[in-house]
């Protein structure tokens, strides 16, 4: 853990030098919002964003990714034999990822890198990626990272953490990958003591005023929460549009679909959403989550209860606030979390009896 500072002009030159050995991905302004994109030759990341509209999860888990290919031409010796498409595992760096989105990567990793099975596309891409975090000195009003085990200067999942300080970046090296990144860029840090960094961190944390309580979620009973009466009201306005799941940095559900082009075909891994009825529809027409209430409940129960119980690593949410900002009908995970955290099944049952 080494702390130092780098002049911004040198930093920009360093990035240009890096392009020989790294693919660079970073935030760029598009219309009225920011997105993570592969940076073109000479293009610098635009760090004047609060956060990107979509999370950068697509850089590791693309919205649509070809995973298997095959020939359908019976003249080919190996027709109909399905073969893996190799992942591009060349080194790349994600520049300016926010600490919440970096932590989200570590949560999604729990799903794709398990003791029994490994998703090779995710695992290889993750291993090839260096994460250059950008601390948040100006959080949004909907940010609640500090109450979910994260924060504006949180280091989990990052290799390097940058903090903006006028003409320079304060730079904290967190891993060997981060150190290699700096040396590949030919960047030398000027040593810096922790005073300024710590003060900035404290000030940033103090700016996060929105919070949620998660302390009771683990001890709540799954069936009590599942049967709670508040789901009717929570789901009432939901359009099942799926915006929440697409913008969420921790949502990992996907679909597998074949696509044919002439005599060849590919199988794709595509983002899917628990908000869609097709997600769970059986061929018979039966649907275990056929109603809007069941689907909305599934999303929140997965993030705030099932995940908590299964992994014991807190909730499946990093407090980025994207779903709060972008939900067209203002469904707010903070309010739902409060309903779940504060729920008292027994008292309510008594009240009904009275």
């Amino acid at each position: 853990m080494k702390l130092g500072k780098i002049d911004k002009k040198q930093w920009a030159e360093g990035l240009d030098a890096l392009r020989k050995s790294f693919r660079l991905l970073g935030p760029v302004k598009e219309d009225t919002y920011y997105s993570f994109k592969e940076l073109k030759e000479g293009e610098q990341p635009d760090f004047s964003f609060l956060n990107t509209r979509l999370s950068p999860k697509s850089l590791l888990f693309p919205q649509s990714e070809a995973i298997v290919e095959y020939s359908l031409d019976t003249r080919d010796e190996d027709h109909h034999v399905m073969k893996a498409i190799e992942t591009d595992a060349s080194p790349r760096a994600i520049l300016g990822i926010r600490p919440c989105d970096a932590k989200a990567v570590t949560l999604v990793n729990l799903n794709f890198d398990t003791p029994e099975y490994k998703d090779p596309y995710w695992v290889k891409t993750l291993a090839a990626t260096t994460f250059i975090g950008l601390a948040c000195d100006t959080p949004k009003s909907t940010c609640f990272c500090t109450s979910v085990g994260c924060g504006p200067y949180h280091e989990e999942g990052l290799d390097l953490l940058l903090a903006d300080e006028g003409q320079t970046y304060l730079v904290k090296i967190l891993t060997e990958k981060g150190e290699n990144f700096l040396s590949a860029a030919g960047l030398d840090m000027v040593d810096e003591d922790t005073t300024l960094f710590d003060a900035k961190k404290e000030a940033a944390q103090a700016k996060i005023t929105s919070s949620i309580a998660v302390d009771n979620l683990k001890s709540q009973d799954i069936l009590d929460l599942h049967g709670a009466p508040f789901w009717e009201e929570v789901s009432f306005a939901c359009l099942n549009c799926g915006t929440c799941t697409y913008t969420c940095p921790t949502c990992w559900c996907f679909d597998l679909q074949d696509e044919i082009n002439g005599k060849t075909g590919k199988r794709f891994k595509n983002w899917d959403s628990c908000m869609f009825p097709l997600f769970t529809l059986h061929t018979t027409g039966h649907n275990p989550r056929g109603t809007k209430l069941q689907r909305v409940r599934q999303r929140f129960m997965h993030k705030l209860k099932y995940f908590v119980d299964k992994y014991d690593q807190g909730i499946m949410c990093v407090g980025c606030g994207r779903c709060v900002n972008q939900c067209p009908v203002n469904i707010d995970i903070r309010k739902v979390c409060a309903l779940m955290n504060d729920y008292k099944a027994d008292e309510l049952a008594c009240a009904v009896q009275e």
């Binding site: 190996d78 794709f112 996907f254 074949d258 628990c274």
Partner: protein
């Protein structure tokens, strides 16, 4: 071949070796697959109760219970109901066609726990595939001494709708397995039980006790009426073993759709005890 182990999305290539119509209404066919590559059969080492993704290039994949038993060598067998896009396509495929097999997937009936116990199997309709796998394994001369009494209640609408009928009749003749076959209504030449599976279970199944486990697999309506019968017979909820179904894609616990609470049917199941199922929101 290393790749198969590492990449769970890539199926083993297989050739369709045999296709047999399995029921009189032709809605089910039994497919026998042989592996194209040496060593794949050994790698595809499975237990009765597991399933696999039948994978057709250009069409898609479908999770199906394995109907063959690990004691049967040289092939794997699946009995498939023609229902959706993939299964309809499969029903039109021919012997010799190349496709893929991903698996084995999921858990299996708890064979370690079941050793030394009496086994009651209750099956209905075409949900008899992994039950066939189980029976063939248990009746294998090396395995039969590991189990106490074996009772099988299996019902279908008509004699022609019973799966694996020739084998059922062979098992009827054996003295180390008690078969209780039944059809919904009397039929000419039928010499076994008549009536729905739950009442036949009530009449013919052994009493439940600590050393007796029931494995139940069938359509929802059969399950619904069989569970109270088993409770009445004295089967505790942790002695009733079931196999669940849900829509699946990956089959190894990542794509997220088959959750019934925190458990995923594909990876934590498909086999659960009734006791375990009762602790989930039962979204299946």
């Amino acid at each position: 071949m290393e790749e198969h182990v590492q990449n769970p999305y890539v199926p083993y290539p297989v050739r369709i070796d045999d296709i047999a119509v399995a029921t009189e209404d032709k809605s089910l066919k039994t497919f026998k697959f042989v592996f194209l590559n040496d060593g794949d059969e050994e790698e595809f080492s499975y237990q009765p109760g597991q399933f696999a993704e039948l994978s057709v290039a250009g069409i898609g994949e479908i999770p199906i219970g394995i109907a063959s038993s690990p004691v049967e060598k040289g092939f794997v067998k699946f009995t498939v109901f023609k229902a959706g896009v993939v299964t309809s396509h499969l029903h039109n495929m021919k012997v010799g066609d190349i496709m893929g097999l991903r698996g084995p997937l999921g858990n299996w009936y708890p064979w370690d726990l079941l050793e030394g116990k009496n086994i009651l199997i209750v099956g209905g309709g075409f949900a008899f595939t992994t039950l066939r796998s189980s029976i063939v394994s248990m009746l294998d001369p090396d395995n039969r001494p590991k189990f106490g009494n074996i009772d099988v209640v299996y019902g279908a609408r008509t004699p022609g709708m019973l799966l694996y009928k020739d084998e059922l009749i062979e098992w009827e003749k054996r003295d180390d397995i008690n078969m209780h076959l039944t059809i919904d209504a009397p039929a000419e030449g039928w010499e076994y039980n008549v009536g729905f599976t739950p009442p036949v279970t009530e009449q013919k199944a052994p009493q439940g006790d600590d050393d007796t486990y029931a494995i139940v697999c069938g359509p929802p309506v059969m399950i619904k009426f069989t569970l109270p019968v088993l409770e009445k017979l004295g089967y505790a909820h942790d002695h009733i073993i079931m196999s669940l179904e849900n829509r699946m894609k990956c089959g190894f616990g990542m794509c997220g759709r088959c959750g019934i609470g925190k458990e995923l049917v594909c990876k934590d199941g498909p086999v659960f005890t009734l006791d375990q199922i009762n602790q989930t929101p039962r979204e299946y």
